[in-house]
Structure formats: C-alpha cells, structure tokens
Point group: C2
Chain length 462, copies 2
C-alpha cells in the first residue's frame, strides 16, 4: 500500500478509537523544565544516555518551539529580549505577555490576570502544582498568585525586604494591611489548589501578617493536609487538599559535581597573563557527576508527579503543572551536574505522565522550557588548534566544567554570561514537546501565550 | 465537522492531488545555515522582523531537530561532543559519522565515502552547490571532494601548508604525485557537478599541481563555463557546467556592525579590576547594523539560488545544496550583524526555493544547521540587579555586541567561548525545517546521517 494512503487510513482509525474514548476526562499536564533550552537537553543527553541515545522527551511525537516574549515595565510596547521565570511563567499561565519579575500581573498597569488554574477551578476541574523549587518561587507562583515582585515570597519580605540579600525591594503595598492579598506563601495558603508539592517550608513556617498563626497554620485552617516526607506523601489520602513541603527552600538536586565541584576557571601561566596568545592555559581537572547526598531524603520529581496525578485523577478533568526548577538554578550556579540530574528527574516524571495518559487518553502532555540558560557545550580541544600537535583547550574567559561521561568522553560545559555571583538567562526560543494528543493543536512554531490558549482549549475553558 | 475528521479528509485530498503530480521530477534542495542554531535564529528574528515576527524558516510546516554526531579520529567508537563543519557536512552528505576536519572520508581508516552528489550523478540526476563561503570550504567540499584535512584547499597548501597561517598541516600524501586526487579545488575542477557558485577564486587562480595551467584553466578544460560577476551569472546559458567564483575567498556578508564594529569588552573601573563585585562596569556603546559596503558587487544568495535552480530544473530531478556560511564565520569573528545578514540571505534564498517548489511539487526542501555556534543573547539589564535602582549590565567575561534593533530595543549578543582569536562551535542539537513534502519522512528528532538517508530516499537513490 502507498505509504501516504496507509498513514491517512491509520489516522482515520486513530480518530475512530479516540471518539470511543470521548467520555474520558480532558486533562492537561504541563511540564516546565526551567531554563531547559536545547543546550541543556544536549548536555543531559550526552551524560544520561550517550550522544546517540534518546531521552524520553527526545522521543515525543510532537515537537515545536516557542518564542519567549517579554516587555518593558515602563513601556509595555517595547520588547525586552531576555525573560525571567516570572514573566515567562505568567505567559504560560495567563496568555499575557508581561515584564520581568511579575507574578500574573500586567506590565505597568499592575492588574491581576486570571490564571489557567483559577479558570480550571471555576469550571470545576481539579488543579495541581509540583516543583523542585520552593512552591513560592516564580514559576509555580505565577499559576496561583498575583504580585508585581516575585521576591515578595513570604511575610518576612513584605517590609524592608532585600532581594538576593542586597537590593531593597518594595513589597509593602501588597500587604493585607494595604487591602491586597499579601505575600506569595500567604496567597498559596489561601488558595483552593488541590495539590501543591515541592520545597519552601521556610516561607510557610513563619508568622503570617498580623496574625498569631504561621502561614502553615493558615493553610491547615484552609483545609490543606500537610506532608513533609516521602512516607507521609505516599500515605496521604486524596480526600483533602494536599500541601507537601519537603525542604526549607529549593529542593536539593539529584546529582552534583564530584565532591561538590562546579565549573572552574582555567589556570593561566604568567606568560598568558601578559599576552593572551602566549604561554599555557590549563583547564580545570575532569570530574564525574555523583549522587548528591543532600538529596537522599527527598521525594523524587517522579514520586511527586505520581502522588499529584493520583490526587487529581477523577472524572472532572485536571490541570497539573510540574516544574523541574534546578535545570535553571544549577546553571545560574555553574553546576552542570546539578542541571543534568534535574533533566533526569524531568524525564522520569514525564515517563509517569505518559504512563498515566495511556490509561486516560484525553490527557494532553506538553513539555517546554520557560527561557534559555547560560550553559554551552564547547570543544574539549579547540577548533583552532591541531590535535596532531597536542591540541589546545578552548580558552574560555568564563568558567568550565569538564565532565567525563559514562560513555568515556569528556564534555566541556561553559558558563560565561556574567562574572558576578550568578549566570544569566538567554533569549533563545525554547523547545516544546507534546504527546500525540497535541498533534493537531500545536503548530511547528508557537509563542508562550499560545501554550496557555492550547491548554485552555483542551480543558474547554474558552 | 469534527476537526480531526476534516484533517483526515484534507490529508486524503492532498494525497490524491500529489498522485496526479507523480510525473514531476523528484528534487531535493538542502539549505545549510552554517552554525545556525536557535540562538542565531532568535537573534536574527529580533533584528529582521521583531521579537514577535516570523522569518520564512520559522513558518516552515515541518520542524524537527538533529543530533550532531562526531567521533574521535584515533578511536572512532569514542564520541566527540562538538563538531566542525567538515565532519558534520560529511554526515549530511554521506550518512557516515566521522572525525573533525575530514571531507567525506572515514575516521581513522581514511577511506573515501560516496557522497549524495556522486550518487545522484550516477543515477543521471543533476547536481549543484551554492555557498557564500569559498566553494572549497568544508561544507561544500564535503559534498564533492574526499580528503582527510579540510585545509588542503588548493595546490599551494599541499606542501608545507599552514592552517590559520600558524599550525603545520600534512596534505602532501594527497597529491596527485602520490596517486591521490590532489587539493580540494583541483577535485572540484575535475568534477561533474552541474553548477558550483560561491567564493574562493584564490583557490582556483593558482598553478595546478605539476601543470603549466591554473586550476581554473583545468576547470575550463573539464567543460565549466566560468562566471565572476552578477551580470555574467544572469546571462550564463544552461547548456554547460557552470562555475561561479565571485570573491577571492569567503564572500563578504550583507550586513556589518556600525562602522565595522564587532563585539567588544565591557570597560571595568579600577575598583572592579581589584575585586569583581566592586566598582563600575561600563558595557560597550550600542550599535546598529548597516549595509556592508564590501558586499555591493556580490550576487545575493537568492540570486545564486535562482541561477542554480534555473540551471538544474529539468525532467531528470536534481540535488542542490545551498550554504549560508557566514552565520558561522561572522560568529567566530564576534560579528553579530554579519551573522544576522547571513540569516537574512538564507531566508531570501529559502523564499526562492519555496516558490520553485510551488511549480515543481515533488521538491523536498530541508533547512538545517551543521552545528551550534558561540553567540548567546544575554540580558541588557542583569537578572541579578534591580532596574528600579539603575539596573546593572550583565558583566560578561567575554565580548558583547549591544545592538539597537529596528523595533527600538537593545539586544545583547555575547561571545565568550575562547579568549583567543576566534570563538568556538557548541555541541547543541540543531533545528531542522522542511516544506510539506517532508511531512511524512522527517521524524520530530533525527540525526544528521538521517538527513542523508531522507535525501537519498526522496531522490530514489537507495
């Protein structure tokens, strides 16, 4: 049979079988690899499955790319070319392009924007959030809360707070005293999200604004069952709302560099300091990635995903956002092995989501990133040297992790966007993957706000 | 009507109409943006059509990604994570993974590998090459020639040649005197490719090995009509083989930085030199991109593409490779505007290819890159500063071009992979685009050797 005809017939059969399943609920699982651009995926692939291997996400049947769009806060008609996780998550959660740092509020005019979770709740669907960051961090927060500054995470930040411990930020106008909804943790505690799992206990185990209770106690009063360990998570019943907080802030990464090492500067000889084309440059020693001992007591992203899906599975349909946060956070900190372990976690969580979709075939699974990140794979032997004569390393002006992969080669991961304490994001468009349910609704190139629209359409919310 | 059923019916109609066109020839146009990873495309998009705009390649109906695969020359079982243009073009041209620097020869064992152009010629199809590099450069060469070192470009390099004017390379064993085929330009001059257009006159207007003729004269003797200007190109008849050489080496780029500027180092205050968290860092002044005066007399990539297609169009079918070389070369030289102009040229050449495919609908058009490149879009105001307090620039340890785009914002393009005279490639997987003809034959993720297989299958060569 002609291959094209066979494809058409197969598509017809698939349609027919889908119709018989029309009674199964419409669900969306949105998996966000924070900072998971194609460099991060390629780096993780080389380490986890080898350069010719395929990650689960590589094998997804639908592939697209998303334009990451940001605007200036003073002039929202003016584009800004590099996003942060707050404005990009706001695009994904609300369909509205905003300015950096904003949690589901509009640029300049500072209006709250209804999120996909709020819309889903309104329509009687179940909702959930899983993150390896603090659940008050920008990505999860943008699906639930509304505030103009992502760093207003808990009541302690609301008066005279310092971002990164150094830059003053103004959160006070968002306090309940000023007629607003208070800090992000307070907004989460007051929410009706069915399941929230991740890190960030320090933002809840703290006195709430103008209250003799902690934010955590407020969450309990609002009907949340609190779990803080793997055992409690696995034994939690599905009858009440669930808030799982497994670490004070960001959850530790699954993997780390050998003995905790991160990317390091090449060592330059005296002659090379005098003139850059002279003298020797010695790259840092090779390392392997190893299990991060701090991760030991943590639930995996897959365990949190399984628990969340079990909590949300019903005839009502659900929206679940799952974030692998430390692809980004580890890249800011030049910790290539940390990012690799987070891609591994995302991949395992995706396996769970795909297995669930086998049993609930109207489940649309979308995997994407919120923005690009600094890490770049660069040559172990410079292209501008001659291996036959010894081969010079690529003399990065930044910091490099030289990682020996299980397949026995050395992979150089370069970080060189900012000499200061952390690396920057990049402005590249980001990959989008989907299961077969996304086939007819995700074009080869979309924008981040389109992901909101696709999600809302699938859930029947528009 | 149900949307899915409508899609199936539409696909059926499309199939039917395709069958009636089964008599039109099977052609492949492979467009390679050298170094055109997603960063390069995003940078060019922002400048050329704005952050919310779409390039022609963004709008292609089929999108995939390709794993870039390289092996070690001493141990071909060992992966190398960053390719050069020679080994990646060899993957595309032959389906065989090889080591860096090799032009259609096997790693370690140094055997010639039959290229798609040689297979097409054997089957009676027409063949062509267009490049904005010297036609002897790695990408075009890998489709026609066979030699283990890409820098053996002409007879002058064959004895005591120096790569980049500094590293000795051994080409002598490939001389005709040693029973081989000689330098790359000599192999091109001896070929039966129907049309070869690009730069590189200096590699032809030079004494051939052991001959009183130049390589160019040898090409004429072999039946090539030589053209060297736009007028000659447009007036060339299609009856004989055509060799167009429009510049001594790489063709100048369409665009350049303001007054020829490229990326520059931020200026650091004395205090900042003492300790990196102190004192001021002043980023280089903003620039615009401008027309490159050196480009004025050059044919555009679109003009070369039109001429090549006109030369190749027949009932026999053809294979045409078109390379936008200086996305890569300008990025090696930290010239962001140069790369942007080359993406613009590629996009315009793609417009021509798509217009041709309208009239010859069995034409498969694939656009891809050979490897990643150094350029990264980084924030104009660091993520780790506070715009409300003035906003610090991202303090790159590398070099940065701050480009004012036509939509009025500033885009930072960072280069920081090697402090030496040129930037490095990166190991990221690269985008793949195709017209609708590629819909059923290009999976969401492929390898570079798969592109050879897809091409060969479409041309009926397997």
């Amino acid at each position: 049979m002609n291959k094209r005809i066979a494809t058409v017939i197969a598509a017809g059969l698939l349609s027919a079988s889908t119709f018989s399943l029309a009674e199964t609920p419409q669900n969306v699982i949105l998996i966000i690899g924070d900072g998971m651009d194609d460099q991060q995926i390629s780096i993780a692939r080389n380490y986890l499955v080898g350069s010719q291997g395929r990650l689960t996400l590589d094998a997804m049947p639908v592939r697209s790319t998303a334009q990451v769009l940001t605007v200036d806060n003073d002039d929202p008609n003016k584009p800004v070319y590099v996003a942060d996780s707050a404005n990009s998550a706001t695009s994904l959660a609300t369909g509205v392009i905003t300015s950096r740092g904003r949690i589901a509020t509009t640029a300049k005019t500072d209006q709250s924007i209804t999120t996909i979770i709020e819309m889903a709740q309104q329509a009687g669907l179940k909702t959930g959030i899983v993150s390896t960051a603090s659940v008050t961090d920008a990505t999860p927060a943008s699906f639930i809360a509304h505030i103009d500054k992502r760093f207003c995470e808990d009541p302690s930040m609301m008066i005279d707070g310092l971002m990164h411990g150094r830059f003053p930020i103004e959160c006070e106008s968002y306090t309940k005293a000023n007629g607003r909804s208070g800090s992000i943790s307070e907004q989460l505690a007051a929410s009706n999200v069915d399941v929230i799992l991740g890190g960030g206990m320090q933002h809840f185990d703290i006195a709430a604004e103008a209250s003799d209770k902690t934010v955590l106690q407020q969450a309990v009063d609002n009907g949340f069952n609190i779990v803080t360990s793997v055992a409690e998570l696995e034994n939690a019943n599905n009858d009440s709302k669930l808030l799982g907080l497994f670490s004070p802030s960001t959850m530790p990464t699954l993997m780390r560099g050998e003995n905790g090492r991160i990317a390091e500067a090449p060592e330059k000889s005296v002659m090379n300091h005098i003139y850059k084309y002279l003298g020797e440059i010695t790259p840092p020693p090779v390392m392997i990635c190893e299990d991060n001992p701090k991760f030991a007591s943590m639930p995996t992203m897959k365990q949190m995903t399984d628990a969340a899906i079990s909590h949300l599975d019903s005839n009502q349909g659900f929206f679940l956002m799952i974030e692998s946060a430390s692809i980004d956070k580890a890249s800011h900190g030049r910790n290539a092995c940390g990012s690799i372990g987070e891609v591994q976690q995302l991949n395992a969580a995706l396996d769970s989501a795909l297995a669930y979709a086998e049993t609930s075939p109207n489940t649309l699974i979308i995997v994407t990133a919120d923005h690009g990140q600094a890490a770049q794979m660069i040559p172990e032997v410079s292209l501008f040297s001659n291996a036959a004569y010894g081969g010079l390393p690529a003399a990065t002006p930044g910091l490099i992790a030289r990682i020996k992969t299980p397949e026995g080669s050395i992979m150089g991961v370069n970080y060189a966007t900012n000499e200061s304490f952390a690396e920057e994001h990049t402005g590249v468009n980001v990959p989008v993957f989907a299961n077969i349910v996304g086939q007819d609704v995700i074009a080869p190139m979309i924008t981040q706000p389109d992901i909101f629209t696709i999600t809302a359409n699938h859930l029947g919310l528009k």
